[in-house]
């Protein structure tokens, strides 16, 4: 109990800052582009809005090489097991961004075939609303994720093994 709430101290605190700085400035997205939001995600990666400024231009095709899962588009009931399996194949540490109204809560489709929100099967870190969100909206959400990563304590795994830093 006290280990979990203990302050890291100067050495581990600085090591935390170094590790999270490296992590948040080199996120490699796994672009799971499902529907219309995928096009805005690609437009964000293109030259005008340039996601490469944030270090995220390397969209990996394989989940084993990525650490940021951007779910862009509608997740249907048929696709839900596939999305869950892809998330499980990603190695730790990993983060999930739900982009667009469909991924956040089913969007404009309250039907028999659509999963009403991807957080029913995955833990989500940042929700970005919009149908589709503009590239500026996606970048704002990613910057929010970077702020969230900066507050984490990855070195806890060294001095407090039983406390998990990311879930």
């Amino acid at each position: 109990m006290t280990e979990k709430n203990a302050k890291p101290g100067f050495f581990f605190g600085s090591l935390d800052k170094l590790i999270t700085w490296a992590q948040k400035n080199s996120l490699w997205p796994f672009g799971s582009g499902l529907a219309c939001c995928a096009i805005e995600m690609i437009a964000t990666a293109a030259s005008h809005y340039d996601i490469s400024r944030f270090g995220m231009e390397l969209f990996r095709a394989s989940p084993r090489q990525a650490d940021l899962f951007i779910i862009a588009g509608t997740v249907t009931n048929k696709m839900a097991p596939v999305v869950r399996r892809l998330w499980e194949q990603m190695p730790d540490p990993k983060w999930v961004v739900a982009m667009g109204n469909c991924a956040v809560s089913g969007g404009p489709f309250p039907t028999y075939a659509v999963l009403q929100g991807v957080d029913k099967i995955l833990p989500v870190d940042v929700y970005i609303a919009g149908c589709p969100p503009t590239p500026q909206g996606l970048l704002e959400g990613l910057m929010l994720l970077q702020k969230k990563i900066a507050k984490e304590h990855p070195t806890r795994m060294i001095y407090a093994r039983d406390a998990r830093t990311t879930e």
Partner: protein, 364 residues
């Protein structure tokens, strides 16, 4: 050497399948024997939703079908509703609809050339295509406030008129397109690698293409002169002068050339429409609650992907009884099997790209 057939899965998540499409390939070493597409990973139930919404409320749902060219879907649906209800769109409204729809056709083809070239390996063309697309999306952001799924047309006409600022933005975007096309052609059209990967690949003879229901640029690349803008003109297309490009060899290379030429023809149409824009109203008077008496209608247009049609059955209330969407990519994908037989696994990616499918409209 013993013959062994292997089943290879190009799963629903794949960088080159343009969405969530699953292809089950049966291969013998590198040669493809059978292709079975499995769709339905993006089925959202749009047709059932249409039965629970009014005619006005359905228009934004049609944006999400072919999300590269949202205005074209709106146009197909609205023309069917107006035919059913007997509403006459004023001439100025029709011309503005043509301008917006052709701009979306440009955006769709520019994105297509980017994706197809990226699949085959030419990554810079993706960035060129999207950079040009940004100019067009900014026009729509100025006009209606959104970039991608825009709901830019209404029953009876268009929501806003075109003012001088938007027209100057459109002309600026049109002026920059020829230079960009020249860049893309310089990179691809005489490139030995591009020709080696696309010429003679994915050939389908014209009569088989017609029998399988293929429509759009893939059919025109087979030499069949089918363009609904010329055959059954809608929304004043008969007032404009443009050519229909045709191919001869019906392979991936010809489909690429046909689409590049269609971009040039679209630029021509938009310039003519702006020059000849008539005065008057841009939207007809439509009652706030639109009830259409019982009847049915089928209407189709030439969307960038092929022939997009809407069948609407009305029942006297303000909600339709049945809306069925005739989707070009759905029927074009059926001929993928015929086109891939006997080619290599790497060619499947090139052929699938040349068919230009969108999973949003296939799965409705």
């Amino acid at each position: 050497m013993a013959f062994k057939e292997i089943e290879l899965n190009m799963g629903p998540q794949h960088p080159s399948t343009h969405g969530v499409l699953r292809l089950k390939l049966a291969v013998d070493n590198e040669v493809v024997l059978r292709v079975e597409p499995v769709v339905g990973y993006l089925h959202r139930g749009i047709e059932k939703l249409c039965e629970h919404h009014t005619y006005f409320q359905i228009t934004p749902y049609t944006d999400r079908l072919d999300y590269f060219a949202a205005t074209q879907n709106n146009l197909a649906y609205l023309l069917a509703v107006e035919k059913l209800a007997g509403i006459e769109v004023p001439k100025r409204g029709q011309y503005i609809r043509v301008i917006l729809a052709e701009l979306q056709r440009l955006a769709s083809h520019l994105a297509w050339i980017g994706f197809n070239a990226n699949d085959i390996g030419a990554m810079s063309v993706l960035l060129y295509g999207f950079a040009e697309r940004e100019g067009i999306l900014e026009i729509f952001e100025e006009y209606i406030g959104a970039r991608l799924t825009i709901h830019s047309l209404r029953i009876g006409g268009v929501p806003h008129d075109l003012d001088a600022k938007i027209i100057s933005m459109i002309l600026a975007a049109l002026d920059s397109i020829p230079a960009r096309l020249k860049d893309i052609e310089m990179l691809l059209s005489d490139n030995r690698i591009w020709k080696h990967r696309t010429q003679g690949v994915g050939v389908i003879p014209a009569d088989e293409a017609l029998a399988l229901g293929l429509t759009g640029p893939a059919l025109r690349a087979a030499g069949v002169r089918w363009d609904i803008r010329k055959n059954i003109p809608y929304s004043s297309y008969e007032d404009f002068d443009f050519d229909v490009p045709l191919g001869t060899n019906s392979d991936v290379y010809d489909r690429y050339l046909v689409r590049l030429e269609e971009i040039r023809q679209s630029v021509r149409i938009i310039r003519q429409a702006i020059a000849k824009l008539p005065g008057g109203e841009s939207r007809a008077k439509v009652p706030k609650i639109l009830k259409i008496p019982a009847g049915e209608v089928f209407h189709s247009i030439e969307a960038p992907k092929g022939e997009l049609g809407f069948y609407i059955q009305a029942n006297g209330s303000e909600k339709p009884e049945r809306v069925k969407i005739k989707v070009p990519s759905f029927i074009n994908l059926q001929s993928l099997e015929r086109m891939c037989r006997g080619y290599l696994i790497a060619d499947v990616v090139a052929i699938l790209g040349s068919l230009d499918i969108v999973l949003g409209e296939i799965d409705k």
